[in-house]
Amino acid sequence: MDRIKMISESLKQKFDTIIARYPTKRSAIVPLLLFAQDEIGYVSEEAIEEIAQRVGVRPIEVVEDISYYSMLHRQPIGKYNFQVCTNISCMLRGGEEIFQHCAKKLGIGHKQTTPDGMFSLEEVECLGACCGAPAMQVNYDYYENLTPEKVDELIEELKKKEPGPRT
């Protein structure tokens, strides 16, 4: 799979709008990183350079932020990232079993990606869906009151879609 490394022109324009919201450009770093990742699937070296230059910091300062925030990653991951919560409220209602079911079904473990680049799996901390436990997010979409059957249905549904990077 070809890796996209550079963000689009339209996103660069959105960057200008976001940067203008703050008295210091640096404030925009984390939102810019996340939006760049949303577009190209990960935070590429090129994106780091671009963002550093736009907010007027050295690239290493951008990298310092990336390593702090758990949603940011510097390597491509699957098109559909299964983020299963196993924190206390989810654990009490079977969150660990949901995680293990996903692992078995997808054939991958925590923070791994299927060879076709379709799925990634991650055990995550509280998603703020405690009353709908057990819960997970696939990319930004919430799935609550999960059962192994619901997970199976979702995986089958997603498998029918085109492989490729996240869009």
């Binding site: 919201r21 008295p23 210091t24 640096r26 404030s27 925009a28 770093i29 984390v30 939102p31 990183l33 996340l34 907010v55 910091v57 310092e64 932020d65 702090y68 925030y69 758990s70 949603m71 940011l72 196993t86 924190n87 206390i88 409220s89 654990m91 009490l92 209602r93 079977g94 660990e96 079993e97 995680f99 293990q100 692992a103 078995k104 991958i108 473990g109 925590h110 923070k111 791994q112 055990e123 901390e125 509280c126 998603l127 703020g128 869906a129 405690c130 009353c131 709908g132 436990a133 997010q137 930004y140 979409d141 919430y142 609550e144 009151n145």
Partner: protein
């Protein structure tokens, strides 16, 4: 997007103030909001003296809904009136306390209520700029907020010369990217400035030196959503809904082993026993109660004998726990408390930002100890060692994350010591051995799956 009734099954015992518009079709749109008293409080506030709004806030007894429970009016009152610097209002929408999912519904179904509260807060402290810091995972909520902000700008409730009053206020959303620590107010400010979310030394408090070194108020989503109601109906009315010095209602999130999990709006001081038995329908599957986490995973736990307590800040403090963020987690008789302690600690070890050594090292040590202990490798001295480590985190860190990790651990070690003894005696988890435990592997990783184990999260 889920139907609201999934997370809000409803109860006749609810007193709906913040959630009263939820259920009306299109409640997130400005037109529906305007049809239901929307922006009337802002209109009233703009005709008031800012100082009087702060007085009304103090009278209301509204205390911070993010967990700390500080009087919101007092917080606003600390902002200096005359300063050459800009002032800022920051809304903390970084909801991530385990067991808490209330801000989500307030934003999803009534974003204008929050926006109105923020603008009034801005007027009260004479600030002209605000940010809503929202956790990265809540992307769909940020989109809802961005749409609502655009509507509010278009109708003149934001921007220049709001409703012809001469008051200007700009408001933006700002996304985080995954960090529990950024819910702590000074770490949030660093994050908003584009830095790693490390906490700052307090004092100075943000009211004096906050965002960009300027006076700043930071309030939780639920706190700010209460503001329009206080302005419209008066501080006294609000105080009477709850308790003196702790006014209003709370959005309680009932989760875990409860028959009807959900978010319920109940008056401050509502009895915990009735909340579990009548509002939530009791412990699930007809089982008995073992333990309650009363306000998010940072709070000391309560045993089944301790639930005859009114749910307000002072009553819970009196029995050695906290009301926290309103996340009420129910644990039934078949729950292993060693495992619960381990899972809670695994979270704090993952989320410790690493700035303060007692928290960085202590949470990792406790997580390893509890994991080993629950897995059958416990030593006689482990419970005392764990207590020692926890007490050496408590009060020794810049921000409350260290305390938040230590307190539940200490309470479980003290109140459920017998379960630790039973593990030692059995050489493994007695509950899982009889097949009733919630899971059989602690690693969260099937043994056949390659790759790093979850303990390296």
């Amino acid at each position: 997007m889920a139907d609201y009734s999934n997370s809000m099954p409803g109860s006749p015992l609810e007193v709906k103030v913040l959630t009263r518009r939820i259920g009306i079709p299109g409640s997130a749109s400005i037109d529906v909001y305007l049809e239901h008293e929307g922006y009337q409080a802002l209109r009233k506030a703009l005709g008031m003296n800012p100082e009087d709004i702060i007085q009304e806030m103090k009278k209301s007894g509204l205390r911070g809904r993010g967990g700390a429970g500080f009087n919101a009016g007092m917080k606003w009152g600390f902002v200096p009136k005359h300063t050459g610097k800009p002032k800022y209002v920051v809304c903390n929408a970084d909801e991530s306390e385990p067991g808490t999912c209330k801000d989500r519904v307030l934003i999803e179904y009534d974003p204008h209520q929050l926006i109105e509260g923020i603008v009034i807060a801005g007027y009260a402290i004479q600030s002209h700029q605000g940010y809503i810091y929202i956790r990265g995972e809540y992307r769909y909520l940020m989109e809802i907020l961005d749409r609502a902000l655009a509507e509010a700008y278009a109708r003149g409730y934001l921007g220049k010369n709001i409703l012809g009053s001469g008051f200007d206020f700009n408001l933006y959303t700002h996304t985080g990217a995954g960090a529990y620590e950024c819910g702590e107010e000074t770490a949030l400010l660093n994050s908003l400035e584009g830095l790693r979310g490390y906490p700052r030394v307090k004092p100075p408090f943000p009211a004096l030196i906050g965002l960009y070194g300027c006076p700043t108020i930071i309030n939780n989503v639920e706190t700010l959503s209460n503001v329009p109601h206080i302005v419209l109906n008066g501080g006294e009315w609000f105080a009477k809904l709850g308790k003196p010095n702790d006014g209003g209602t709370r959005l309680f999130c009932l989760s875990g082993h409860i028959t009807r999990p959900g978010i319920y709006e109940l008056p401050i001081g509502f009895p915990l026993r009735r909340m579990i038995e009548e509002v939530g329908g009791g412990v699930w599957r007809g089982r008995r109660l073992k333990c309650v986490i009363p306000g998010g995973s940072s709070c000391p736990v309560l045993t089944a004998e301790e639930i005859d307590v009114p749910m307000d800040f002072d009553s819970l403090a009196k029995i050695g726990s906290m009301l926290g963020s309103g996340g009420v987690v129910i644990l039934d008789e078949d729950t292993c408390m060693v495992k619960a302690a381990w899972r809670i600690m695994k979270f704090y070890a993952h989320e410790s930002c690493g700035w303060c050594i007692p928290c960085r090292e202590g949470t990792m040590w406790l997580k390893s100890l509890l994991e080993r202990f629950h897995g059958g490798g416990g030593l006689d001295e482990d419970p005392d060692t764990a207590l020692d480590v926890a007490y050496n985190i408590l009060g020794k860190t810049l921000c409350p994350l260290g305390d938040a990790a230590a307190m539940p651990t200490i309470s479980i070690l003290k109140k459920f010591r017998h379960e630790f003894e039973e593990h030692l005696k059995a050489g493994s988890c007695p509950l899982e051995n009889r097949g009733a435990g919630p899971g059989s592997k602690d690693s969260g990783q099937p043994s056949w799956a390659p790759g790093p184990s979850s303990s390296q999260l």
